[in-house]
């Protein structure tokens, strides 16, 4: 399972971002930082009428917005589209996403295209204020002018919603936006994507999207102490709201190595027979990609397959063995936790060994990345909360076991699964992981459409 989402990347970055700002303060000194930070206001415009935008451009913008997952952060679950207000809680306070509907007073209705482009490029609002890097302009800076134009056209033709920005709740001195300039100085590398002429056009298209608008690294790349993605560990796995965003480079722990075709169908359909179903924050990403042009999804798959690299002969062999075992259904049962084994046999096997292919039959657990991963959190999350149905759509359902299994029972099950199917060293401290997961996780597993009259501070996202 891949896990990723840009909103969550913001949460993940919380402490690091703040650290970065403090560092910038120290580096430059307050006065210098202020000089560095100043940006002019870009003149307000009269909101353009929706009809002034070319329909083709709007359509292109819609597809790009799906790839960029814009609605995910800028829409509170169940509330008005793109009206912002989604809270991103941090230990230092809360940042709220902004209203990007064309409402002239509370949205971006008075933003010119230049103002929009500047925000994407360098994280500056129309009035010259610096935007918190919860908005991933460290990636969006790579987006071409042409694509920014399409995105702008798309957003400016949305339904305007009057929804004033919610006040961020940040402690002094972090409520001073000028400090963000320091963070940018260190970590924002402005500029458009530069193609690699040694690679195919498709690869380049994929790289452009992945590094830019799709901002995959925001979740899948670990961050340094100052909250920036570690260039040296690109796609080596990240941490998102108590989910692990899996490594999607050579360190990938999927039992069967990924290739471009598998990535394509996974990203497009949300599942793949050899890899299972996208869950957690990644569920939203694949849902959006299902409405993006297949050529773009294929390009992303081609590029990511290259990032994942050609598997070593050893890894390839292991993958083939895992597949063969999954197909034959027979596997030698190694010595394993007896309690866990009986729980598995009674509660899990009827679906996971039912012979029905995914996404509806439950993946053969010998193919599960969650079990093969060094980090047991994702498995704990799934066992606790299951997989809930999408409103009115064909989608996998798995009952959650939070109410019927104790932490000890789940830990026993997880340990059994790791030994039985993981072919890996045992996990440590699984019971603690389960305890933590039970405390924090349930809400993020919601994949169903949200309550309609959701309270304004709902932290869940809209789906579908």
């Amino acid at each position: 399972m891949l896990v990723g989402s840009q909103k969550l990347s913001g949460r993940m970055k919380r402490s690091a971002i703040i650290g970065g700002i403090l560092a910038a303060l120290c580096v430059g000194g307050a006065a210098a930082a202020f000089a560095l930070a100043w940006r002019p206001t870009i003149a307000a415009i009269d909101p353009p009428t929706p009809l002034s935008f070319d329909a083709g451009l709007v359509k292109r913008g819609r597809e790009l917005a799906a790839i960029g997952n814009c609605g995910d952060c800028h829409t509170v679950r169940g509330a008005r589209n793109f009206a912002g207000g989604l809270p991103v809680p941090t230990p230092f306070g809360t940042v709220y996403s902004s209203n990007i509907t064309p409402d002239p007073e509370t949205g971006i209705g008075r933003w010119s295209e230049a103002a929009f482009r500047r925000a994407m490029r360098s994280g500056v609002g129309r009035d010259g204020t610096h935007l918190y890097p919860t908005f991933p302009y460290d990636h969006f800076t790579n987006v071409s002018d042409e694509d920014d134009r399409a995105l702008y056209a798309f957003l400016m033709t949305r339904e305007p919603v009057r929804a004033p920005a919610r006040e961020n709740q940040l402690a002094f001195p972090l409520d001073y936006r000028v400090l963000i300039a320091g963070w940018k100085l260190l970590f924002l590398h402005r500029g458009s994507y530069r193609p690699d002429s040694t690679k195919s056009a498709e690869w380049n298209r994929g790289a452009y999207l992945v590094e830019g608008l799709a901002h995959c690294g925001a979740c899948h790349t670990p961050r340094n102490a100052l909250g920036a993605e570690r260039a040296s560990a690109s796609f080596a796995g990240g941490d998102v709201d108590n989910w692990q965003a899996y490594p999607i480079n050579a360190q990938s722990s999927s039992p069967v190595p990924w290739d471009a075709q598998a990535l394509f169908s996974y990203l497009r359909d949300g599942w793949h027979p050899d890899h299972g179903t996208a869950r957690g924050p990644m569920a939203q990403v694949v849902s959006n990609l299902s409405s993006a042009p297949s050529s773009d999804v294929r390009a992303i798959a081609v590029y990511m397959a290259d990032v994942l690299g050609t598997p070593t002969p050893d890894r390839k062999r292991q993958g083939e063995a895992a597949l063969a075992q999954a197909k034959s259904g027979a596997a030698p049962a190694p010595q394993a936790d007896a309690v866990g084994a009986s729980i598995y046999a009674a509660a899990c096997a009827s679906c996971h060994e039912g012979g029905r292919p995914p996404p509806y039959g439950g993946i053969n657990l010998g193919l599960s990345t969650a079990i093969a991963s060094p980090d047991p959190r994702n498995l704990a999350n799934i066992v606790l909360s299951g997989v809930r149905p999408l409103e009115g759509e064909r989608s996998p359902i798995m009952p959650g076991f939070a109410a019927s299994m104790s932490d000890t029972q789940i830990a026993a099950l997880l340990n059994f699964l790791r030994t039985r199917f993981g072919n890996q060293v045992p996990w440590n401290g699984v019971e603690k992981t389960v305890e933590d997961a039970r405390r924090t996780q349930t809400v993020f597993l919601q994949t169903s459409a949200g309550p309609r009259n959701a309270p304004p501070d709902a932290s869940q996202r809209d789906k579908p």
Partner: protein, 165 residues
């Protein structure tokens, strides 16, 4: 032999530990309320309460239940002395075929035990796991709201709670 606590009584059961609770309730204990709907944890008609939480008895093997308290609809009240949730469903006439209703009531009961004044959204979100095919949803929602009020009143008069033992 398994020992289970069901509706406040201890039962010795001649059943394999991998048997889903539902079959034991229906066949060994002859309790009708929990229903077989899908056997897959997709529809909620088998919902019972285990240690205060709504649990799908069709995917809950006995071996998970050692030392836990199981409550079924029969454990809440009877025709002559209905629990608040049962009174509420009768008063709202919240059933058509009624096959899903026992499961609905148990999930609602579990919700009301931990949240005595749920919002309409909280009720809907909680009941989302349970399917009804007759389209009795509007009445079910009304019945749960009524049950909340009845339980509130019942709390004032002790000994009339009808909640889990």
């Amino acid at each position: 032999m398994m020992t289970l606590m069901i509706n406040g009584l201890t039962h010795q059961l001649d059943a394999d530990p991998d048997t889903p609770l539902l079959y034991v309730l229906r066949n060994d204990l002859k309790l009708n309320a929990a229903k077989f709907g899908c056997g897959l944890g997709q529809c909620g008609s088998c919902t019972v309460i285990v240690d205060g939480k709504a649990v799908l008895s069709c995917v809950t093997p006995l071996l998970l239940l050692e030392g836990k308290q199981v409550t079924t609809l029969e454990g809440l009240g009877t025709i002559s002395e209905p629990a608040p949730i049962q009174r509420a469903f009768m008063e709202e006439q919240a059933a058509q075929c009624g096959y899903c209703i026992a499961g609905m009531m148990m999930r609602a009961q579990a919700l009301l035990q931990k949240n005595s004044k749920p919002t309409d959204e909280e009720i809907r979100t909680e009941l989302e796991q349970n399917l009804c095919r007759c389209g009795t949803h509007m009445r079910i929602l009304r019945a749960v709201r009524r049950a909340a009020r009845l339980m509130d009143t019942a709390e004032l008069s002790p000994g009339n709670q009808g909640s889990v033992p």
